[in-house]
């Protein structure tokens, strides 16, 4: 497999890159790690005649610990997130999630921004970031804006960005001390078939706040704030409420068509993984109250 012909552009500023991409319109593609773009071009799924290389934009690089959270540039690779002491300090499960993406070659080259902009539905980061309340900073017609991960994606391989808009980076807030983040996924093929992430904040064994995000099954990440529904609950009352909520969610979540697994089984997995994530989330939040969230991800 060879790549089709294209021109390679290497702008050095966000402004220049944005202008170039705006001018090129549908003929241009932003290019960073290329792990998804180049593959799609080889397979003939994308036919851009111009690639605009964003790796030379300094604004897109770097992970910075700032008051209240961590800033991750769009051009940061999964491997950099995996190894970042700043990320581990405030949200270790994010590093663990990054460490499970594809394989070490994809992680060494592929970027968080590229992953989010490519918007492959079978992918973990958007779901995870949605659950932890991350915000994506975009550059839209010369202005900086903020958008939630679940709003950023509008469908498979589609985001809110228009030609000339860029994703600058991701703001990940430090979770409250009594919160716990759980990321679970089921991999049947090379890419995840179901991704679930939950953040549960608890005090004395009772829920203060809870958020659940489900990805890899539908056209985009589905995020639900369960704070209202679960607040004040613990023990068996929590479990039975979670069971009912998750059953409702699993029954109604939109699914992608033409998947190897049946809708029935996918809904079953959504229910099982969501239940586990919320149960483990509360149990761990209760046991680790006062310490940074440490619970990692895992394969179902």
């Amino acid at each position: 497999m060879k790549l089709p012909q294209f021109e390679l552009h290497r702008p050095t500023s966000v402004d220049a890159a944005a202008r170039l991409l705006a001018d090129l319109g549908d003929d241009g593609s932003a290019f960073s790690g290329g792990t998804e773009l180049l593959l799609a071009m080889k397979l003939g799924l994308i036919k851009s005649r111009h690639l605009v290389d964003l790796k030379g934009l300094p604004e897109l690089h770097g992970i910075e610990l700032r008051p209240g959270g961590v800033w991750i540039g769009a051009g940061v690779t999964h491997a950099e997130i995996e190894a970042s002491p700043a990320v581990r300090a405030i949200l270790a499960p994010l590093a663990v999630m990054a460490s499970q993406i594809a394989n070490m070659r994809v992680r060494a080259v592929g970027t968080i921004g590229g992953n989010l902009c490519f918007a492959d539905p079978n992918s973990d980061p958007a779901t995870f970031l949605s659950a932890v309340g991350a915000r994506l900073r975009t550059w839209v017609r010369g202005e900086s804006r903020e958008v939630a991960p679940e709003e950023f994606t509008v469908g498979p391989y589609q985001t809110v960005l228009e030609p000339g808009d860029l994703l600058l980076g991701v703001w990940v807030p430090t979770p409250p001390p009594s919160a716990n983040v759980v990321h679970l996924r089921m991999k049947i093929h090379e890419r995840p078939s179901v991704t679930v992430a939950a953040m549960v904040e608890a005090s004395h064994g009772e829920v203060v706040a809870a958020r659940l995000a489900v990805g890899s099954v539908g056209p985009k990440v589905l995020q639900v704030d369960l704070g209202e529904e679960l607040r004040g609950l613990g023990g068996s009352a929590y479990s039975s409420r979670v069971g009912a909520l998750v059953a409702l969610l699993a029954g109604s979540i939109p699914l992608l068509p033409e998947r190897p697994e049946s809708p029935e089984y996918q809904r079953h997995l959504v229910r099982v993984l969501s239940t586990r994530a919320l149960e483990v989330g509360l149990a761990a939040a209760t046991s680790s109250a006062g310490r940074p969230a440490q619970n990692g991800g895992g394969e179902a």
Partner: protein, 772 residues
């Protein structure tokens, strides 16, 4: 002058039976090993293939103008270029055109081939070829193909191929292109009399062999000669097929086989060679054709199958009767389907003492990619089914599955099939050994299951192999043998065999790849035959050299020949010793010359055991322990044990590697590998993103390979082959283990969803909330 030593050199332990390091390890580690895709021939062009997007269609027109106008395009081959020859090939059934002629029969069938100055030009040109098709309704499943009014995939009766080896071909019936069956005893009566009968319908998937190196060929057709570098397992059969197809003399077709990046059957018989030769003939230049993975997936695959089987037992725990009907989907062209059908038929009864048996197998055409050989074919298709039924009977009779098998398996010398070689292995002994290796009978954790399986695979293919051993003046030996090194370690094992005979260190024996111009004939590399058959030829060739050495030594020592033997790189009469070098020097009178020995194995010669088929019965015997997650349906293989009943282990370490590799392939085949087609015959998972093969994360906690050496093989030093048995054995053991965990499955692969569904229908309590 020749030095005679009376202080005998110590006879270091021989080569055979030792874990000699692989002779090819270093060259492969350093990246210097040459594969076909690394060959660069002067003037070489790059080929790319246009493949059909439709499963069944008439070709209305092909417009090459835009493609030919592209800078760098040298030639384009289509069916129209094949009118001056008989363009059909196939070793079993001559049913396949080199490229499509007038019609296409599967998605991915080659329609045109471009030769250009670079691969990107060739790929671009392929995209510029304009083909107009008239689509017809395809037959993309066994069910559809077997309907009485199903359209025929082939309307003309295929001629027998040059190597079908299947006797008189039966008349085709609809889309059934070959049928194989046999029976003994009164099956109907025995089922009526039986105390327990188990029956069911079972499904086996199409799977992809995935040799990491895809099918690769460089062909150079000039005048009345052709030279082919190819990733092929059977160079001599390819030579014959190319010679037939292009009307060339056998000795004008030269196959050169570098290292193979895996084979597993996918590179057996003829694959991309005819296309490469045809485009080279048209272009007048050497052309290289290297498949992508998606192309190799439609070049050959394993047969999917539907099987109906029933098994009967008496109240006293004797297996008495079995019936098996099965239908193998061979795709649009027969490839090795007829042989797969026959081997599956032979494996269907399983190695038990039946009163009556009826087996009826059909090989069926459909509009899908052709299916051919893949490691342990036939046995892997049927063994898991038969063994599930044996376990179910044992369960109903409340007998331990191990004891039940030990009571019912054939004894040594038992009749496996009328007219075939009697059983040449101790199955009870093997069963006890594998059971011990998996701690059979120990209490096990909830959700876990332990299973056994035993079967036989007709192995060895046709026993015709020649070998030459050359012993040079420096006492280094070169072995010329047609076995293809595809990862199994053949070159190392062959070196050990020659070294053993000549009492040389094995690193002093060189074994190179096949060049049909110099390497003597060998039928094929497959069916676990190489160590047994080609290895025997190597042993005989080395003995031929040794005989010449001993002849010289006898004259020198003035002793009779029967007092001489090889020892430590020389020959001894028990008191005196002389080196091979000195014997060669003595024989030729100066420091030069060489001794050349020939070895030959053919059905009427050798030990006599090559006279009847199969060459040997490969034992397919294994055990597995699995964990089933009742909530998600995920099956994990915890432990496996397999038996390598090899007669004599030439290299125990390489045998263990064979069984471990087979075990991982078995895990893939049993649990997740499956080619999925849409109703129009399009392969849905044609990349490794969607077709998953086992990775390091699928390795069981423990894999045990028990090597059994009873000296009962027909090969060198009592050896017989291995490497396939574990594949069929472990696949079936995983199935019986999952059944033992409470989930008897009737379809492979046992994907999480299928297992989950099965649990639902069995009415198991859904252990919700129990984290696994």
């Amino acid at each position: 002058m020749a030095t005679v030593i009376t202080n005998l050199p110590s006879s270091k332990a021989g080569s055979v039976g030792h874990e000699v390091p692989r002779s090819d390890a270093r060259v492969k580690l350093s990246g210097k090993a040459q594969f076909t895709g690394d060959i660069r021939v002067p003037g070489m062009l790059y080929g790319a293939v246009l493949r059909s997007p439709l499963a069944r269609a008439r070709i209305r027109s092909v417009d090459l103008r835009a493609a030919l106008a592209l800078d760098g395009v040298v030639a384009i081959l289509t069916g129209a270029d094949l009118m001056d020859m008989d363009p059909y090939y196939g070793h079993a059934l001559k049913d396949r055109p080199i490229v499509a002629i007038d019609e296409v029969r599967f998605v991915g069938e080659p329609v045109a081939v471009v030769a250009a100055s670079s691969l990107s030009v060739a790929e671009n040109a392929v995209n510029l070829i304009d083909v107009v098709y008239a689509s017809e309704s395809p037959v993309t499943s066994l069910q559809a193909a077997l309907l009485p009014d199903s359209p025929l995939v082939h309307t003309k009766r295929a001629r027998p191929g040059f190597a079908h080896g299947l006797g008189q071909l039966p008349d085709p019936e609809g889309n059934v292109c070959y049928r194989y069956g046999f029976s003994k005893g009164d099956v109907s009566n025995d089922f009526v009399q039986a105390a327990v009968v188990v029956e069911g319908e079972y499904r086996f998937p199409a799977v992809y062999q995935y040799a990491l190196e895809t099918h690769s060929v460089v062909a150079d057709h000039r005048g009345d000669e052709v030279t082919i570098w190819a990733s092929c397992q059977h160079p001599f059969l390819v030579r014959q097929e190319i010679a037939d197809l292009f009307d060339l003399d056998l000795d004008r077709v030269r196959l050169i086989v570098p290292f193979l990046g895996g084979g597993f059957g996918s590179k057996s018989y003829t694959k991309m060679e005819p296309i490469a030769v045809a485009i080279s003939r048209k272009a007048g230049r050497p052309v290289r054709v290297v498949n992508r993975v998606d192309e190799s997936m439609v070049t050959t695959r394993r047969h999917n199958m539907v099987c109906r089987m029933r098994t009967a037992a008496s109240a006293t725990g004797e297996l008495i009767a079995r019936e098996a009907d099965f239908w193998l989907d061979t795709g649009a062209y027969a490839d090795n389907g007829p042989r797969v059908t026959a081997t599956a038929g032979d494996a269907a009864p399983g190695p038990y003492r039946w009163r009556s048996v009826r087996v009826d197998g059909r090989c069926v055409y459909t509009n899908t990619a052709p299916a051919g050989s893949y490691r342990a074919f036939g046995a892997i298709h049927l063994q898991w089914i038969g063994e599930l039924q044996v376990d179910e009977i044992a369960r109903r009779l409340q007998v331990d599955p191990l004891e039940f098998r030990c009571r019912n398996v054939l004894p040594v010398g038992g009749e496996v099939r009328a007219g075939a070689k009697p059983l040449d292995a101790d199955l009870v002994g093997d069963l006890r050994k594998v059971a011990a290796a998996i701690d059979w009978g120990q209490p096990r954790t909830e959700g876990r299951g332990v299973g056994l399986s035993v079967g036989l695979l007709a192995a060895g293919a046709h026993p015709v192999s020649m070998a030459t051993v050359r012993l040079g003046a420096d006492a280094g030996a070169t072995v010329l043998v047609g076995t293809t090194e595809m990862g199994q370690g053949a070159r190392t094992a062959m070196a050990q065999i020659a070294a053993e005979v000549l009492a040389l260190p094995s690193e002093q024996v060189v074994v190179r790849g096949t060049d049909t111009q110099y390497t003597p004939y060998d039928r094929s590399t497959g069916a676990s035959r190489s160590t047994t058959v080609a290895g025997k030829a190597v042993e005989l060739a080395a003995r031929d050299v040794l005989a010449a050495l001993e002849e010289t030594a006898a004259a020198k020592f003035e002793v009779p020949l029967d007092r001489l033997s090889a020892r430590a790189g020389g020959v001894t009469d028990g008191e005196r010793w002389i080196s091979h070098q000195d014997l060669i020097r003595a024989r030729f009178g100066f420091a030069g010359g060489e001794l050349v020995g020939h070895g030959m194995v053919q059905p009427s010669r050798g030990s006599g055991s090559f006279a009847e088929g199969p060459v040997f019965w490969e034992v397919c015997l294994a055990a597995a322990e699995v964990a089933v997650d009742p909530v998600t349906g995920v099956v994990r293989v915890i432990r496996t044990a397999s038996i390598a009943d090899v007669g004599r282990a030439i290299n125990p370490q390489l045998i263990r590697r064979q069984d471990e590799g087979a075990t991982l392939q078995a895990i893939g085949n049993a649990l997740f590998e499956e080619m999925r087609y849409d109703p129009e015959g399009m392969l849905l998972n044609d990349t490794l993103l969607d077709y998953r093969v086992p990775s390091a994360l699928d390795v069981p906690e423990r894999m045990t390979c028990v090597i059994v050496e009873n000296g009962d093989g027909p090969g060198p030093f009592g050896a017989k082959g291995c490497g396939e048995g574990a594949f069929a054995g472990v696949t079936a053991a995983i199935a019986t283990a999952v059944a033992a965990a409470g989930v008897p499955m009737q379809e492979l692969p046992m994907t999480p969803e299928r297992v989950w569904r099965r649990i639902q229908t069995l009415g198991h309590p859904d252990r919700e909330g129990e984290a696994s």
